[in-house]
């Protein structure tokens, strides 16, 4: 299952970044596919990006909402929020585990042998704070003389934007190099920190700072794809908790907002049919091979 997940993640990485003519065209993809929502966090300023980033677009619409209303356009972010909500309701954080390019980057780095560090549970609240403050409240309320806000999350925090767009665009467009300043260097340092942290901890950005993960996480309990826990079959052996890469007590909260639905607890750990995947009411009960429980 882990191999399948890797291939699906890679497929999404290439689908979301499928415009490979940018070295010839000298600019980013500008075709009609960019009206489609990327399910994962994928910067639309990346020269190869074929879809729009939901967090980036939502912020851009919110920061310009006053000017849009003044000019008679009701651009309130409903299209973007509708796309995000449909994805969240259908899949929850399954998207994080199976379709997010930046999640894949962090997972690949985590495979590098090194001492591994757990992430304290309270850091998980950080992503909800980022969603509320940097994506919604600050872009809406802190405005300049023209009534325009700032993309706070993208500008000051998003490491995916630096990796996928900041570095390639500066390499691709020589004119931009003269404009590189303190902000760019700060974002490079932040990216380096997140990448180094990813070697030591499993998906630190997704678990502590990603606003899209926070949004999808709110749907985990009610999404069409959920985990189903059968307490009658559970022997409290703890195998599900031991294998969980994001340290969830699966037998206590199988649909926690932290779960990225890697499904390792169902497909590799539980030998007693206590865990199953519920897909729109239909129960799929994958069962691992007996005594074939790999280490975390």
């Amino acid at each position: 299952m882990e191999r399948l997940r890797f291939w699906i993640q890679s497929l999404w990485l290439f689908l979301s970044n499928g415009y490979w003519a940018f070295p010839v065209s000298g600019t980013l993809y500008q075709g009609p596919l960019k009206v489609l929502c990327s399910p994962g966090l994928n910067c639309y300023s990346c020269p190869a990006a074929t879809t729009f980033c939901p967090i980036g677009s939502l912020q851009q619409l919110l920061l310009g909402v006053r000017l849009a209303l003044q000019s008679g356009h009701a651009y309130l972010g409903t299209y973007v929020l509708g796309c995000m909500g449909l994805l969240g309701t259908a899949f929850g954080r399954l998207i994080c585990g199976w379709a997010c390019p930046f999640g894949l980057v962090q997972e690949m780095l985590h495979r590098i042998p090194s001492p591994k560090l757990a992430i304290p549970g309270w850091l998980g609240w950080g992503k909800y704070l980022v969603l509320l403050l940097l994506v919604v409240v600050l872009p809406l309320t802190v405005i300049d003389d023209f009534g325009l806000g700032l993309p706070w999350f993208c500008k000051f925090l998003c490491p995916a934007g630096t990796l996928e767009a900041g570095i390639p665009m500066v390499l691709l467009m020589p004119d931009l190099r003269s404009a590189v300043g303190v902000l760019y260097l700060y974002k490079l340092c932040l990216l380096a920190l997140v990448l180094l942290w990813s070697i030591a901890s499993f998906r630190p950005f997704c678990r502590s700072l990603c606003p899209l993960g926070a949004f999808y996480g709110m749907f985990n309990r009610i999404s069409l794809i959920r985990l189903k826990f059968d307490a009658d079959n559970c022997t409290k052996c703890g195998a599900c908790h031991r294998i969980c890469p994001v340290d969830i007590q699966v037998d206590r909260s199988p649909n926690s907002g932290e779960c990225i639905r890697c499904l390792r607890c169902c497909t590799e750990a539980c030998q007693h049919d206590a865990l199953a995947v519920e897909i729109a009411g239909h129960v799929w009960r994958p069962r691992p091979a007996p005594f074939d429980q790999p280490a975390r």
Binding site: S45, G82, G85, L86, P151, G166, M169, Y184
Partner: protein, 63 residues
């Protein structure tokens, strides 16, 4: 009479809450579909496309 304390009452409670949980995603799908259609009606995708076609300089760290 069935009460939540009796086994039959508890079963009935569980069944009705399971039914509710099964309905919530359908209701949410409808709500978000309506939001999406509202966005399309006010031509928001064109604005999204316009933004996504240009490089967001602050987003890539260039002020």
């Amino acid at each position: 009479m069935l009460t939540a304390d009796s086994p039959a009452g508890a079963r009935k409670d569980r069944r009705s809450s399971a039914r509710l949980i099964r309905r919530i995603p359908l209701l949410l799908l409808l709500v978000f579909l309506l939001l999406l259609l509202t966005g399309i009606a006010v031509d928001e995708p064109a604005r999204v496309l316009e933004q996504a076609r240009s490089v967001c300089l602050p987003c890539i760290g260039i002020d």
